[in-house]
């Protein structure tokens, strides 16, 4: 340690207040503090108040003396049978520890921050809290809106006008017209239900496809795109297409145009063109 404690203001004890009168005043002040304990925002706030009684710049505070003041405060409170909140007692323990470390010669074996560092940090915290208090007071003393300065009392709201722009292109128009004019070309009872694959559709599809199926082809390969369970098809569409295709295959088998094979219960069903159907 290059510096002695005397060089560090926060470690230097303050001279005792001169004379008896000072003592009495001090004791009164301490008692007033204790009775008012509910008015403090925690131990740091109390420490700040105690520090101010040292009547020095916070930069030059004696932390050792402050620790003693605080411990005296707690002792006094105990005498007056005032119950202090836990955090005040925790702080007392911490300060008692700090005080002992400040008074004892530093232990070279000890780990963690030195007593001087702890004291310096406490002094810094007190100074910072004090600075923030002053900043808060200055802030609240500014020309505040609604107190010193005023906004427009009758603001004129911006009205929002809605304009609708219709989206329709020539192509929509022509499609609509084409749809209307070609309606009669379609089968009258075809109804477009999104997730139903009709037996007619399946028959139509199989009639076209079976011509190429000289070899065994599984039922699932006959399912049209979008109905084979991939993409948005989903289970319902796949089931509908499977049922329709199977029903259509029975019809084609009945007509003697198709052979159906299933190796086992629940095994895949395969179809092929009936060889004789070629002739």
């Amino acid at each position: 340690m290059a510096r002695t404690s005397a060089q560090m203001p926060h470690l230097r004890p303050l001279p005792d207040p001169p004379g008896e009168a000072g003592d009495v005043a001090q004791r009164r002040a301490d008692e007033a503090l204790i009775v008012d304990v509910d008015g403090y925002e925690g131990p740091l706030d109390l420490l700040l108040t105690l520090a101010r009684t040292q009547k020095v710049d916070l930069m030059k505070i004696s932390v050792l003396h402050l620790a003693e003041q605080y411990l005296a405060f707690v002792e006094q409170a105990r005498k007056l049978r005032i119950e202090l909140a836990a955090d005040y007692l925790v702080m007392a323990a911490w300060l008692a520890f700090l005080k002992s470390r400040l008074l004892l010669p530093p232990d070279p074996e000890a780990e963690g921050p030195s007593a001087e560092d702890m004291a310096a940090h406490l002094a810094f915290q007190l100074e910072r809290l004090d600075a923030m208090r002053q900043a808060a007071a200055r802030l609240m003393a500014r020309d505040r809106l609604g107190i010193s300065r005023f906004a427009r009392g009758a603001p004129e709201a911006v009205t929002r006008r809605r304009r609708t722009e219709w989206q329709a292109g020539l192509i929509d128009l022509m499609r609509a017209y084409a749809r209307l004019k070609t309606r009669d070309e379609f089968r009258p009872y075809a109804f477009d239900r999104q997730d139903v694959f009709t037996m007619e559709q399946a028959l139509d599809r199989m009639r076209r496809m079976i011509g190429f199926a000289g070899d065994w082809v599984e039922l699932s390969d006959f399912l049209p795109e979008g109905w084979d369970g991939g993409g948005d098809g989903g289970g319902a569409r796949r089931r509908s297409a499977t049922a329709a295709t199977f029903a259509a295959s029975l019809e084609l088998a009945r007509q003697g145009r198709l052979e159906i094979r299933q190796s086992d219960t629940f095994a895949p069903i395969s179809f092929r063109r009936k060889p004789s159907a070629d002739q």
Partner: protein, 231 residues
């Protein structure tokens, strides 16, 4: 101006302190009236001003001077009932509006009706219904008229003298057509692949049923009321 302000500030304090002091100069009284009118939620009467200004002020004169000061500016002082208030200059009212554009798609009924009118104009309502196979709701036609894509043409010289509908210049403009004759024919539509083999979604029912898929129109209702008889 800066000098004035400094003088004014001290005068204001003097004025507020009591009637023993001379009233603040007129410029300062104007500042006061300006601030009071600005912050007030309601129009302020001269009487209110007198009650709030320091003793000895002449609010009517300060107000008159202030009104002149704001003449021709972006805001002005208007008399509203017994009171006065700041208001935006009337010619700038367009700044107090913001326009939001909603993009909306036409209903299927509207597109179909529009297409029929475009291809068959002049066309009567009955003819539209015959082609569509469903009744044309008044709302659909009203909407198209309101959009200024369709207008009422001449009456047909047939029994009942029904009104006909034709497309407008605005329609041609929107769809980039020089005339309605430029609309492609059916064979061209087929060649362009527009006649997909998908069967129509809607009921094939031939009997005319009320068209419910578009909401009743507003606004142009007067025109339509005048033109169409309900069944």
């Amino acid at each position: 101006m800066t000098d004035l302000t400094q003088n004014d500030a001290s005068d204001a304090e003097a004025g507020a302190a009591g009637p023993d002091f001379p009233p603040p100069p007129l410029a300062q009284q104007q500042r006061m009236v300006e601030a009071i009118l600005f912050a007030a939620a309601q129009p302020v009467t001269v009487r209110d001003l007198a009650a709030r200004l320091p003793a000895g002020c002449d609010p009517a004169e300060a107000l008159a001077g202030l009104r002149r000061l704001y003449e021709g500016r972006g805001v002005g002082i208007e008399r509203i009932g017994d009171g006065y208030a700041f208001r935006t200059a009337a010619d700038l009212s367009f700044l107090m509006q913001t326009e939001t554009v909603d993009q909306r798609r036409l209903s299927r009924a509207a597109v179909e009706t529009l297409a029929i009118i475009a291809y068959h104009q002049p066309v009567t309502r009955a003819e539209i219904e015959e082609i569509r196979g469903v009744a044309v709701s008044r709302g659909t036609l009203d909407q198209l008229i309101e959009m200024e894509w369709v207008r009422v043409g001449r009456r047909r010289m047939t029994p009942g003298r029904p009104a006909t509908f034709v497309v407008t210049e605005g329609f041609l403009d929107h769809f980039g057509l020089e005339s309605a004759r430029d609309l492609p024919g059916l064979s061209e539509l087929r060649a362009a692949g527009l006649l997909d083999s998908r069967p129509p979604d809607e009921g094939m029912a031939l009997p005319i049923v009320p068209d419910t898929d578009d909401e009743p129109g507003e606004g142009a209702g007067d025109v339509a009321d005048d033109l169409f008889e309900d069944d």
